[in-house]
Amino acid sequence: MLAPVHHILPLTTIVRERLLPFKGRVIARLNQKVSSTDIVAEATWAREHVLLDVARILNLTADAADKLIRCKVGDRVSAGAVIASGRGLLSKTVKVPKEGRVTAAGGGQVLLEAGESRMELRAGISGNVVQIIPDRGVVIQTSGALIQGVWGNGRVDTGVMINLAEKPDTVLTAKRLDVSFRGSVIIAAQIRDAETLQASADLPVRGLILASLYPSLLPMAREMRFPILLTDGFGSMPMNSAAYKLIATNAKHEATLNAEVYDRYSGARPEVIIPLPVSSEPAPPRDVESFAAGQAVRMRRPPMTGTIGSIVALRSGLTTLPSGLRAVCAEIKFENGEQALVPLVNLEVVG
């Protein structure tokens, strides 16, 4: 059976697409070295649209109104500009309420886009631009450690990691946060109150790497302007040992925290990327494996949710579980020496 893979890798080649949500201009050049905060592409977009029903205002048919409309698609019009006026001594005029650009005209109507905004797309990770995607963005490649998470609040930033989690289940409190942590990415296994999240925002920090968070704190976490990534899940789960070891040993290194929202269809996942120097390009991560004895695996569900174990043996046929369900299982040995039978669908390979 094919196995999903959860990446916790000390050294790998990481390739990431960075794309604008709509057409724009790519600024970065092929083979350019970029840092995570560099702007690689930009675009402008309209915050709102204004529909002017010229025919209705002038009380004309659509065809008649079209003949009176003085602007065409692409024209920039300023606020108050007259774009059509009726005939006769006491004729009405149609004025533009806001500055904008004409995006459509016809059928007796004019559609403007107004409130133009500029969007800047940052590199997100430090590395080399290995591909330009015209009008949309770039592909960046780097080498380093990669730790995937299970939940992210949609933000991205880069900073030096500070480890405030002495153990994988250390709870961070507001008291622990002082001004020396400003601008850092904080490694903290758990936060259990809104006060600590608020204290992180007040500093502000550049990011939070957590093992788990209470679901009741998720709405607040989504509102934070810095990235928050959960490595393991919801509630009060400790950080899995593989992620904890890797993150903790790389403390004081710069890391990019891309707390992208998990999209199971596109494969986008929140992740921590720690760029590291290499003499030769390491192997890229493998997205799919086949289950096999000896593999390190992570539990997706009880018992021992989130913990790391290794496959001792794969059972053939169906095995009856304590829940009463029957499933294809593997015998798992956990780091504390305990063993359990776990359905393969509840496992993901760590690698």
Binding site: G233, Y265, G267, L325, P343, V345
Partner: protein, 585 residues
């Protein structure tokens, strides 16, 4: 002799679910179509696979092992037609429920007329309504355009206007859809179904033709103000949904090729079977009920003599949408079904954690208890939502209860995969709360939608397979409508077996009673409800009827309708434990 028997076509049917892909083989045995074997594998619509065909091939490979017949060649391509060495199949059909719920905008004229019909139409498929536009919408057209640009719907359902009626109003609602489509990049434009005034089809084509990803037309869902006809539009919507999935999910194209275009949304295919069964077996007072509880949605399909109601509720699915369940229910309402003392915090964590891994299964007893409590509440809510659309002709025996359903067919991972038949049955009784006498049938292999899909290319196959015992009867259930104090006698029952022997039960309020009757056997059941109690013949009225057996025999549910659980949590948990023990959980 029917043409299909002359040809002796074998048929491979595959259901691609959000979590699991199932492959089922049907073939002719001794002159009649039979369900031969099933195989399953995790679905692969999601990353890292991003191609449904991988899961389909794995499910077929698993099926090959059971059936002892090669269906894929060395390059994992489907062997078709069947070969002289016994390999391959003659026909292939598929159903599909994988994929995120489709972001849907409904457009109509009046909110309680055409817009309500558009909503009901959207509920026949895997849709999540994210906005609605109507004449009563207070937003300006440019605000509606901005909303559409921000929400980026996958599909738009437009209704409005009686056939031949006024057209200017509809034009007003079409404008924002057309202009938003014009502004969106071609690959982001929504698919549109127009199910309104048929006279305006040409105008709609002219306005929206070039600014949608695909434009479909169906007969008007509201041909006149007081007439609603969802079914023809639902058929067109099913076709549109597959079109959207072809763009969203890799591999759907291959399924279309293998099946010659016979890919249907799972819920639509199930509804089609229920429609057929409702017409054949639906009584004047009630109908046939199909429930399916899976990762992508809860599906309720009810076939009545004059109408089929299909409700697809992604918000009650047990997969990635699970945390959203809390928008419709309280944690305490879910935990009322649990026989174990579980905290609300544990349950909340469970809902979020399970949403990360929809295909995972409960391995521990506590996890299974939580999973079943969640399933009960999700199915209960889906039933309560669906019954709003049941026809007035299907009158329940008492206000607030369901009409009579005979039989009730249940499928989907949460129901078909329960550890014991008793657990499946108790879950269904708690969540559906049927009334009167009914047979409950478990569709362990999710055959029902596949038979609905197969019907399009072989009309004989579904009929013969339904009669062949491919479904597991859980038993005949008598649900007593009563409200009494716990322990008070509500019903006397006597089961007379074919050999003349008898079994008797005095059913007390709050209890479940089992009377043995093996699958395939039948017996006569005489019911004598006590004063005020009703088993479908009317309050206090008794009668004798023929019943068939099943895994649990004849089950008498004396817990009353609606089912009222004790408020005291300790007493409630004890009672649920007792019911579970009674029924073999």
């Amino acid at each position: 002799m029917p043409a299909s028997l002359v040809q002796g076509d074998s048929l491979l049917a595959v259901d691609v679910g959000a979590a699991t892909t199932r492959a089922v083989l049907f073939d002719v045995v001794e002159g009649e179509y039979r369900f031969l074997a099933a195989g399953s594998a995790p679905s692969t619509a999601e990353a890292p696979f991003k191609d449904v065909i991988e899961g389909v091939r794995d499910a077929i490979t698993s099926l090959q092992l059971v059936a002892g017949r090669n269906l894929l060649d060395g390059n994992r391509r489907l062997i078709t037609p069947s070969q002289s060495d016994g390999s391959g199949v003659d026909a292939f059909v598929s159903t599909l429920s994988a994929g995120p719920a489709l972001k849907t905008v409904v457009v109509g004229l009046l909110s309680d007329v055409s817009l309500a019909s558009a909503r009901r139409l959207a509920e026949t498929t895997y849709a999540r309504i994210i906005d609605s536009i109507s004449l009563t919408d207070h937003r300006k057209p440019d605000q509606q355009i901005d909303a559409l640009l921000r929400l980026r719907p996958d599909m738009v359902i437009i209704t409005g206007g009686a056939d031949g009626g006024a057209s200017r109003s509809i034009h007003k609602t079409l404008e924002p859809v057309g202009l938003a489509g014009y502004l969106l990049a071609p690959e982001k434009r929504p698919a549109v179904l127009f199910a309104g005034n048929q006279k305006q089809d040409d105008e709609v084509k002219e306005l929206l033709g070039g600014v949608t990803s695909e434009l479909h037309f169906s007969p008007n869902v509201r041909p006149s103000l007081d007439t609603e006809d969802i079914e023809p539009a639902a058929r067109e919507l099913a076709s549109l949904v597959i079109g959207v999935r072809r763009r969203q999910l890799n591999g759907v194209d291959v399924l279309q090729t293998w099946s010659g275009g016979h890919v249907l949304p799972t819920a639509y295919a199930e509804g089609r079977m229920l429609h057929f069964l409702g017409q054949v077996y639906g009584g004047t007072k009630g109908g046939i009920l199909g429930v399916d509880l899976g990762a992508s949605a809860a599906v309720i399909a009810a076939g009545f003599k004059d109408k089929t109601v299909v409700g697809v509720y992604p918000q009650f699915g047990l997969g990635e949408n699970l945390p959203a369940l809390l928008q419709y229910t309280q944690l305490e309402d879910i935990l009322r079904w649990s026989p174990l003392d579980i905290s609300t915090g544990t349950l909340r964590d469970y809902l979020y954690q399970k949403s990360l891994y929809p295909s995972s299964i409960p391995a521990t007893k506590e996890d299974q208890t939580i999973a079943q409590a969640v399933s009960r509440q999700a199915l209960y809510l889906a039933m309560q939502t669906a019954r709003r659309d049941f026809p007035l002709s299907a009158r329940p025996p008492k206000a607030g209860l369901l009409p009579l359903f005979e039989p009730i067919l249940a499928g989907g991972g949460a129901l078909g995969d329960a550890p014991t038949p008793g657990q499946s049955l108790l879950l269904l009784l708690d969540a559906i709360q049927p009334v009167g006498v009914t047979t409950i049938i478990l569709d362990r292999n999710n055959l029902l939608p596949l038979l609905g899909a197969a019907a399009a290319c072989n009309s004989l196959l579904p009929v013969q397979v339904l009669d062949s015992g491919a479904f597991q009867s859980l038993g005949s259930v008598v649900s007593v409508i009563a409200s009494a104090s716990y322990g008070k006698l509500v019903l006397r029952a006597r089961l007379t077996y074919d050999n003349g022997t008898e079994a008797r039960a005095d059913v007390k309020y709050g209890s479940l009673e089992l009377m043995p009757l093996a699958a395939g056997q039948s017996a006569k059941l005489t019911l004598q409800p006590q004063r005020g109690a009703d088993v479908g013949f009317g309050p206090g009225r008794g009668g004798t009827l023929a019943v068939s057996g099943g895994a649990m025999g004849v089950v008498i549910d004396g817990r009353g309708r609606p089912l009222a659980l004790p408020d005291d949590p300790v007493r409630r948990r004890e009672l649920i434990q007792k019911w579970l023990l009674t029924i073999g959980g």
